[in-house]
Symmetry: C3
Subunit: 429 residues, 3 copies
């Protein structure tokens, strides 16, 4: 009973046109050009590597797309149990009309060619958007992105600020900022002005959010003028060799400035909490980051209290932080639950985490999902995975256990999938 009910709810939710509120799409090249763009997604290279394939084989320089695919395929046999692999099969089926159970040395070339035939269509981008029911897609733009050459109502800019907070000690970052903002970033005043100029630039181009990913030990707080001045001097003088404390102090100061500007420009500030970069430096590209799950939202207490008018859509990397996210969103008006990130983006974690959110957080504070994709072809299978989890929670908790009607359950599902993205990021008509 619960399975057919889930299926009905999924079908209803599946008719919705979506806004994807966080991706890494390049708006100048949003769709894949070859199957290598799809199989080159870090999930496949890192899992194939983890299962035994040497990095050198996957990342050998000068490989043609077809050679690269041929190599990665050799590793897929060990990962065909993973949900990440199932995204590939679902994309093959739903987008490319290819029905296979495995992709292996016996069939990959046929798959490659069949995929290529679709990708070569001049309107493939439109096709995949239509097949995926995607109306708008948030980007993750460098602070000095000119935001030119694409339709910002479809590809919605979002100001990514990791570099400003964590790499301001790199002269190249400072030079890029000085240049794009036409500002002197050697003083706190100039730096604040440069940040402000970037917010103007981004909001003028339709940006809907500011975003940052944060390591587990990050604990933002307001930094006094004098301490910030001292830290800035040290960083300007010693660049990346500056003392870690000075770099951190300046980073907190910059972070606080970002929050102030989010307040001033009415931009939500997406916090993606908990990642340690380069834990496995010998890993494949984008397959090196992990985490320490000992993190707490109490570290953000001062931030949430200091900026009551800023909405903070929060993603947590590890499921053990999900209950804190539920509780903080239940208490703080400006804390919102945002999607299921990376290592928590598998069905069992999504289902448990989502259930906990949906039973205790106000319904207008739940942003269901974002795809985090690099290429358009992944929205469909990733959102479908989420919709199945959502349909299951609606079926088992809301319809069966709480006695809701299916209509009411679908209405709540729609708000989570789309309605709240509109209200929280300002898409209301």
């Amino acid at each position: 009973m619960s399975i057919s009910l889930s299926k009905r709810l999924f079908d209803e939710l599946n008719s919705l046109v979506l806004i994807d509120p966080h991706t890494h799409i390049n708006p100048l090249s949003p769709a894949s050009e070859t199957l290598a763009d799809i199989l080159g997604y870090h999930y496949y290279t890192e899992l194939a590597h983890s299962a035994g394939m040497p990095r050198e084989e996957i990342e050998a320089p000068g490989l043609s797309p077809k050679e690269k695919v041929g190599r990665i395929v050799e590793g897929l046999g060990h990962i065909d149990n993973t949900v990440q692999f199932s995204w590939l099969l679902e994309a093959a089926r739903e987008l490319f009309g290819i029905e296979v159970e495995r992709i292996d040395p016996s069939n990959w070339e046929a798959v490659y060619d069949a995929v290529q035939a679709k990708l070569d269509h001049p309107d493939w981008e439109q096709q995949v958007l239509a097949l995926s029911s995607l109306e708008a897609i948030f980007l993750t733009n460098d602070f000095d992105d000119p935001l030119d050459g694409f339709e910002t109502s479809r590809y919605v800019p979002c100001l990514r600020t990791d570099e400003l907070v964590f790499h301001f000690a790199r002269p190249s970052v400072r030079e890029r900022l000085a240049k794009c903002a036409s500002a002197d970033v050697q003083t706190l005043g100039g730096l604040a002005q440069a940040i402000g100029q970037r917010f103007e630039h981004f909001t003028a181009h339709g940006a809907r959010a500011c975003a940052i990913s944060l390591p587990p030990n990050f604990a933002p707080h307001e930094v006094g003028e004098a301490a910030a001045e001292k830290a800035l001097s040290a960083v300007l003088q010693d660049n990346e060799n500056a003392d870690d404390k000075d770099k951190a102090t300046l980073g907190y100061w910059v972070f606080w400035q970002l929050a102030k500007h989010c307040d001033q420009f009415s931009l939500p500030f997406d916090l993606m909490i908990g990642v340690n970069r380069s834990v496995y430096p010998a890993g494949v590209f984008q397959g090196q980051d992990l985490y320490d799950s000992r993190v707490s939202l109490i570290q953000y207490r001062e931030l949430f209290n200091s900026f009551p008018q800023v909405t903070f859509p929060i993603s947590v990397l590890a499921s053990v932080t999900n209950q804190e996210l539920v509780s903080y969103a239940w208490i703080f008006p400006n804390v919102v639950c945002n999607g299921h990130w990376w290592y928590s983006n598998t069905p069992s974690f999504i289902t448990g985490d989502l259930n906990a959110r949906m039973e205790a957080v106000p319904r207008n504070k739940l942003i269901g999902y974002y795809s985090d994709m690099y290429k358009l072809e992944f929205a469909l299978p990733k959102f479908n995975m989420f919709k199945r989890c959502l349909a299951r929670v609606l079926a088992e908790h809301f319809v069966q256990s709480m006695g809701w009607s299916e209509t009411r359950a679908v209405e709540f599902g729609r708000q989570i999938l789309r309605g709240n993205v509109e209200t929280i990021f300002g898409f209301e008509k």
Copy 2:
């Protein structure tokens, strides 16, 4: 199958008369006087506030009960998905005979009046106790409560000790203690004597437990005489401006005294572990506390070893601590699992946490549930939520997976719901 089985087990469990082993009931005014007492429960005000309603609107001074209800109702639309809201509907249906799916601007006045008609009955307190199958209800009494004017066999006193451990630096607390205990609390000896006098007073009035809520960083240990003397001097001299270390040292000394007296007076010592107070100071009344889930029961190692004769019914605030609670209760004879507290008191956390307890902890060490209520009307819906979770674990784990008979499952459920409350808190005939 599992759903109808769960339902049968629920119905069996539902026939039980209950003892509620932890509440905040005022025995001189146990039932609600208006719907505002019900809708004023912090779950509704904090969730409505979190969903967007300004605190000022909810807590404006001089609001009549009806005006207050009218305002909170405006915020209920955003929280009708929450299990907390479902308590309201279940209370309306089961206690007041009102069957509605939502409470909104269109129907709240009718609901208000229908509820009022019931509340105005002179025997409403008896009615709600009977409808809720409640026989006895534990209180949470200030240390200087005279414990007068109510029947202590129905409303069972419990000595709440947070103020003594955490606020002894406040002159007002010391004065209240000195006065009620007729003791000089300026010396360690006098203070110990005052504490002893309070235990005598409470046990003479039928108290069944000593209780305290504790922050995540609390790590109790025995404090030497000299260190305690020094800390007491500092606190007596500087009051709340005393050094944090001195305040903490004295707090640990007082806490150890409480444990000693629990031992001497054979009182269980309820530990409610993990809350940070006033994390969101701009929140509504009682809607300001949150937590840092990075807490471990290893912090209580010395305590559990030092007082083998004291039973410690333990509640943990976050579900990530539940496995530790299971393991510590499995090993330490004096550690007992106690209910599902606050932010862990929602169905998905209860079900998972309870299942883990029931499959690995001796059956005589599981106190199923307490309502934590402020007004009698909440026992029924909160206990019913728990009983549904309990029935589900009994159905799926014990009957279906372990092959137990339904009779045996119900017998275990009864022990968890009621039997262990009797044995652990000394209600045996």
Copy 3:
């Protein structure tokens, strides 16, 4: 539907002959001699004690096996809900043909005698191996075990190294090492040589793994020669009174040597992460250890990066660390998930943890289960518990949700139960 599907999958998995990759079997006395060996398993003594039976009663000196059983039986009534107790009933039924729902004062003597009749069979060891479908069983051998007198293809040696890392300050440990390795362990060079000799001895006797259990605060790193020299001197001079820092430094140096030798000898290094010893020193034998769940695999970052050729099968004590294990195994080629250890070895934790692993970790990196048993009679019920959890995940996630065929699900289950044990520990033909 899901229940009958699970049952079918269980039956398929149940036909497999197993290798048990971690036990505490004594190969010179692998099976129980009386029911006291079975009921004396620490799970029963510690749970009976936790439920109220004084340690003195259980561990009184000079008790005959029958007296001991008679006493423990008195405590079983309080623990008949636990899964640990269910192992006893399943062993009674499947190994001894005894069908009872409880073991209590009314029937225990009959059970005792019926069990004894079986145990007294001269080929009982062969019978229980056959009934349990066990082909090979890993041991946990002290570093100075002569590894004589048993068939190492059936009872596979495994070098347990806790003492070398954590108790090298004990003169007795050093003396035993010096003696068995015929080496001088007063210098780093001699110590390294002694360790090497032990690896030679063990691999010459068919050892398949090196293993160690580690406390939550362990954070291994390479120790420089000078620091190690200084630490060794301090430890040699002051033995167990040496400074904790020196003992820890030397321990890390020894640990790093073990990893180097695992590399050199191509032995997997089993890490069992997270236990605090003697948290409850007044507990029964082997019922004194607990944990602090605040541990992270980030503590092993340097180790995993430094030894890319060493396979690390990792067990975590608490389920809150499971997601980190999933993520680290998904990224690091040399990190492998290993079984469900101790306090996480109950159905609800196994099922959740296993599901998370199976949906995101390459299929060749999942070692399903080990029994951790001290006597052969426990392999059957413990593996059966695991197989039920495995069948459930295969049924619900893989067949029902992902649409796999039952054949494909069973094939994956077999790899987890047996295939990966072969490939990871080098049993391939």
